[in-house]
Subunit: 114 residues, 2 copies
Amino acid sequence: MSTSPTRALDHPEREEIRLEAVLHALSDPMRLQVVRFLAELGEGEGAACSAIELAISKSTTTHHFRVLREAGVISQVYQGTAKMNALRRGDLDALFPGLLESVLSADAAQRQRA
Amino acid sequence: MSTSPTRALDHPEREEIRLEAVLHALSDPMRLQVVRFLAELGEGEGAACSAIELAISKSTTTHHFRVLREAGVISQVYQGTAKMNALRRGDLDALFPGLLESVLSADAAQRQRA
DNA sequence: GTCCTAATACGATAAACATCGTAGTACGGC
DNA sequence: GCCGTACTACGATGTTTATCGTATTAGGAC
């Protein structure tokens, strides 16, 4: 019984992305770490979930990736057994110009102070 | 028994303000509404809690104001029976340049689309 | 002093969240 | 077909959150 040919994941459309959800998604240290990691990749590039070392269990990691995806912060597509993740920079910048950048640089600033 | 002469409220010092806490504080629609309201006042100006019409009970309002204060987003000082609230623009801008502005304009943009 | 207004504190409750471990599915290689 | 890797789904648990109503405190006006 095939559940789906190339299993599709639900992403909010650009217009459906809510600022509150994005801010909430970014307000967790683990998720912020994921976003920082993805932001350091080239434009449009992605990384598998397993490429990021988080100090939490596998299932919790899955949970955080889902929160990010459902908030519209990242996109996820299956590629074989891996799931590639990428920042939805274009959509976020179009909806909320400068927001992602200032969160990332705020994070960098805070991180540097510590 | 006086609890305090001019009751003082606990605010985080500038250096103690955490990005995650700020983002979390801003990720609630009610609190975002408060911040938007305060942002529309002049620099350094404040407003009493009661000056803002929220569709929630008094005690819940108190709760949200406290979350904002403890995150370092607003300052609160007693002034007679009222409690004056003001955005901590200076501190936020110093720590996270551009963050508050982009959140506010993201909120304005989203609000305009609706 | 009494009274009114502004805001809080105190429970209480129901929902959401972060976390985990285990069991399971999907894909690719052999 | 079998096996390993990558990720998920499920169920559980403890914590935090948003919400409320009621009782209370603090200050100002009288």
